[in-house]
């Protein structure tokens, strides 16, 4: 495999780590929140890594750190092999030109007072990549690339005149117009109607084929991850529980949590018989009061004594798949059948 283009190396992110003197004195300090705990992810050039997780899993935090919108409490961000964790000033600006971001909410992604053309030209102007006289041409070309035609008409429109799907295409265009190497996409289709999600996903896949851009695709939906990604990382309460090639991970998950996610995904292709649901013992735990041992044990239908006391190792399941579970091999073999 080629060298990764972007690596998140043993990231740890703690909010409210230091509540301040006043809060401590008054006893009103918020407990520290561990948003990312020993997160390591590799992005390979031209490929897509999907990070899947529920709310509070730390997937968005991972994305924000990857774009250096936030700096980790500890750990490193490596871009093309170089440590970029503490970049500032012009070096940071140069990094931003290489690593771009697409956000979840397309309805809020564009400044309502600027035309689409002005919004798209902004990144080019910021990085001085295109002379002023050629801005318009570059904008129109990009609009064509995201299949918004007639491009000139879209360039002169305001965001309020466009639909959600069109707005997300513009947001994608804005991220790609400066030809970044990596794009972090945080739930880019979750706010769109089901009927137009696939159009945006297909567009992103097509653009990747044409430009070789690398995606970090953040989603809560495993079926979307399967469609978009080469590799999938499953996060829960700030940690990566399982990581591996998309198909291998979905057909042979080694972590009970991944298994449960797969089972929970509503599937219209499911057979006539309603699936048996496992009633989970607990609700989602919070990031500020992590359980001892394995962080998933309070909700895990397979939890044993060892899970409550010992943090599970990262088990290598071969073919590049790893799972942080004491029973990873068994789960991959037998699924959620309770081991003796």
């Amino acid at each position: 495999m080629t060298d990764p283009i972007l690596t998140l190396d043993t990231l740890r992110m703690v909010y409210n780590a230091d509540p301040g003197i006043l809060a401590r004195l008054t006893g009103r300090a918020d407990p520290p929140v561990i948003a990312a705990d020993d997160v390591t992810l590799h992005l390979h050039p031209g490929k897509t890594l999907a990070v899947v997780g529920e709310s509070g899993s730390g997937k968005t935090t991972a994305g924000r750190i990857a774009t250096l919108q936030e700096r980790p409490t500890s750990g490193r961000v490596l871009f093309e092999g170089k440590d970029v964790t503490d970049l500032t000033g012009t070096a940071l600006k140069a990094f931003r030109a290489k690593v771009q971001m697409i956000f979840q909410n397309p309805y809020d992604a564009l400044n309502p007072r600027l035309t689409i053309g002005q919004s798209l030209a902004e990144p080019l102007t910021l990085h001085g990549l295109v002379p002023k006289s050629e801005l318009r041409t570059a904008v129109l070309e990009m609009l064509e690339a995201v299949e918004l035609r007639p491009a000139a008409q879209f360039a002169d429109a305001f965001p309020s005149e466009l639909s959600g799907g069109q707005l997300q295409r513009i947001a994608i265009a804005r991220a790609l117009i400066i030809k970044p190497r990596v794009v972090i996409a945080d739930e880019p289709v979750s706010m769109l109607d089901v009927s137009i999600r696939s159009g945006v996903m297909n567009l992103m896949r097509g653009l990747q084929r044409n430009t070789g851009v690398t995606y970090l695709y953040i989603t809560h939906d495993l079926s979307v991850a399967r469609y978009m990604a080469d590799r999938i990382a499953v996060m829960y309460l700030g940690a990566v529980l399982e990581e591996g090639p998309a198909e291998a991970l979905i057909s042979g998950a080694g972590h009970p949590y991944t298994r449960l996610l797969i089972q929970a995904a509503p599937d219209h292709r499911a057979s006539e018989v309603k699936r048996q649901r496992i009633r989970l013992p607990g609700d989602a735990a919070s990031q500020s009061g992590l359980p001892t041992g394995c962080r998933f044990h309070p909700r895990c239908p397979l939890a044993q004594d060892v899970c409550r006391t010992k943090v599970p190792p990262r088990v290598d399941l071969g073919t590049g798949q790893t799972a942080a579970c004491h029973f990873a091999e068994e789960v991959r073999q037998d699924g959620l059948a309770i081991p003796a």
């Binding site: 809020d108 400044n111 696939s198 509503p266 309603k274 649901r277």
Partner: protein, 640 residues
Amino acid sequence: MTPGLAKTVRGTLRSLPGALSLTVLAVIVAAALLAPVLGLPDPAEMAFDLYQSPNADHWLGTDNFGRDIFARVVWGARVALVVAIGAALLSILIGSVLGAVAGYFGGWIDGLLSRVFDIFLLIPTFFLILLIVALFGASLPLTIVAIALTTWPRSARLMRSQVLTLKSRVYVQAALAAGASHWWVIVRHVIPNGIAPIITDGTILMGMAILTEAGLSFLGLGDQNLVSWGGMIFEGQRHLRLAPWMSIAPGVALLLLVASLNLLGDSINFAMNPQLRTRGGAPKARTRVAPPANEPEPTAETPILEVEDLRLVYTAGDRKIAAVDGVSFSLPRGGALGIVGESGCGKSSLGSALLQTMPNNAELTSGTIRYDGKAIVLNGKPVAEKGRSRIDALRWTRMATIFQSAMNALNPVTTVRRQMMDALRLHKPGIGKEEAAARIGEVFDMIGIPRSRMNAYPHQLSGGMRQRAMIALSLILEPELVIADEPTTALDMLIQDQILGEIADLRERLNLSLILVSHDMGAVAESCETVAVMYAGRIVEIAPTRRIFDRPAHPYTRTLIGALPSLTGPLEDLASLPATDTEAAASATGCRFAHACPAATDLCRAQVPPAVDLGDGHVSECHYAEDFAAEAADPQEARA
């Protein structure tokens, strides 16, 4: 001009106060600008015709020096406007920049600047100006600066609160992620989007500035070389009995200008802020009708819910939008119907129409709804019996609803248990306290909330628990039919699956009938026996669940299913659909899906498709329904 700005301008011009105040302002501004070329007498020229009452030569009379008052009022407008505009501009400039900086950077910068705002707000305007006049003498520019210095914190505070929300907006984050500097972001993205309420406030500020200047001049502290309305009133009051017009004319001018500025501010605010307009106005008294004569008694075979040709129309301004446009279906007792469709297809409107909980600007224009054989809506009108709407007697007790957002649907200041107790007592007045408590405990067990959480307030529960509480609340009165509108949309995957499991479980145990409104085809597929697909206000296809997924006979359903990624089966390219053009759909002469349909023909564009009955309860509104059904039956061909 952005569409939002254009809309605000149009809205302001269209409202009576807006148009009126702008007219008055235009007249005053024009008079002030044209003062030198209007051929008026010199406002400073003294003559011997003192104290003349208004006449043909001097429209507003003359003053104690024989000066023409009309000319002086017109020239005085210049001073008033210069002060107003100068002070407001300066105040907004200082205020919005400092407010934006404070809000944007937060932390100690915000703390420091906010204290500075407070200090400046404490300085009494008049006192500061008196001090300045005493130190530097009376002059117009100094007055303007002094007014601005004591008013800018107003703008600053407004801008700060705007920026606090603006800085988390996605486009601000996106600009930062694109590599923009903070100053670039503030100037290009934050201030332009936060300035609107400050401009509105600016009109009020202008009125204040004019009054302050007039007050100063009234006290004799204005610039004596300029004609000012305040100065005129000051002089006039000494001759009030002899020549009252001397103070009345500038007084009225002052009143008109300040009043129209304030009125303008209000109308801009109103035009800009749609929330100030009440949605659809006051609730309309809906005409109720008597039940039809000789309704047959319901039997076990009577469907729990029957809907015929239901139409719901929203009135938005002068536009009418038919959100539900001729929907019919029937739900057998104990059955479950899933209604799927994209946002804006009318599925939620349909849900609200069934329970008669539509917003005030919505109206049923036709249709009949029968609950257990009894009409609750007849030809679009609610049916009343013995002075009470039938739906009132059914709602919650027999027909309950589960909303999408449990946080908004539960009362935040009361415990969950209390809310259930209230519901029980309201609908079952005879119920004893212990019996009620037992019933509540029973429902909590049923839905899987530990009894220890019974006395929790809604905010103390997790999202999943809240949604369970919402379901418990809807089930407390043992309804027969539950209408769930996107009950799991805001929840995490595992929780969503659990809640769907609970609903399925309850259906079986309580023989509940269910209508599940959702955008999620998968959720509907697992929970319902029948699926209705809505598009642009109509049910375009309805069929037993397996049938609709295996043999969809409407091109819209087909694309919708083809657009869903799946975890099972081979990985295929997903179909995609152009966004629905609601205007095109509504104005279509033929099939409303024709504008987006991959298989549309001339027939589709010309003729409304019939409801084609394909047997076994499978109905599709497509000219080519039979072809599609036959084609889908052969999977080899369907793939191609």
